[in-house]
Symmetry: C2
């Protein structure tokens, strides 16, 4: 499901077109970020992306990461979500279908799901009120009962050791 190298390069080109249309410039930092981001699975924060770039030996600043993420989002390369934990999270959008998220309140694992009936009903609700639905945000906060009960949830154990957040 990860994009091939060729697909990533096509996306770089597409992003360049997006930038050109707005009279913005393609830079080494932006190019690198498109590549890194499309190669990522799961969700990541601005800070996680920044660290990844640094550990890859890239030369970027946090400010540039934030400025680029905003553009990557507008350009449809990534999608941003707010899981109500104080940090915006991103995920690769290119070539992915729309989905919503279940977040385990115990271990913070993120599980994706799609439910077309819910999507349709949302549209109907908006219409019924005379509005146009532009976007939505749906998170289900769940509990991984079995893992929870046995205390063996691997992600929770990891989190309690102080490791970085779990991702679905």
């Amino acid at each position: 499901m990860e994009p091939t190298a060729a697909e990533i390069e096509a996306a770089v080109t597409a992003f360049e077109v997006f930038l050109r249309d707005r009279r913005l410039k393609m830079t080494e930092q932006r190019r690198t970020m498109v590549r890194v981001v499309l190669d990522k699975r799961g969700h990541f924060t601005a800070d996680e992306l920044y660290r990844k770039l640094l550990s890859d030996g890239e030369s970027v600043s946090m400010a540039t990461v934030y400025r680029a993420l905003a553009l990557l989002e507008e350009g449809g390369v990534v999608e941003g979500h707010d899981f109500a934990d104080g940090q915006r999270r991103y995920e690769r959008a290119l070539g992915r279908e729309h989905h919503d998220h279940m977040i385990c309140v115990d271990c913070r694992a993120v599980i994706e799901f799609t439910n077309h009936d819910i999507e349709r009903l949302q549209d109907e609700v908006a219409k019924a009120h005379g509005f146009t639905l532009k976007d939505h945000s749906l998170q289900l906060f769940v509990e991984c009962r079995d893992w929870h009960e046995t205390g063996t949830c691997p992600r929770r154990v990891e989190r309690e050791r102080g490791a970085s957040g779990a991702q679905g």
Copy 2:
């Protein structure tokens, strides 16, 4: 739909019981906040509540407002929401039914709605994945088309004048 004075006092007492169960104390500030909060309609931020208390001549600090809001939320007096604009928003929970929110991306108006089919489907989704649904967060970001087109949306006009945020 606003609670009567008697209902508010009953809520103060109930909150006191909640506190006592946890070996916490009822204070003048907390008592006042329960009253003020239950009297409010619409959504408010911590800062808005703080200003309201000050203008009422109450003696509170921002720190106490934040600490109390956390307790009020746990005690079921208020419910907190994250509308992805960087500030947590609260609303009176006591005696209110569950509902979700539509937020106009143009004027930031907040409209409440309830859809039982969506609720049921959320439960089913969680169950289908082997999880227990503990909570959810659903926001529909909409556009008030007519107002938008005519440029007469009262809330937008108000917002552009620099007034405080609109509430549904």
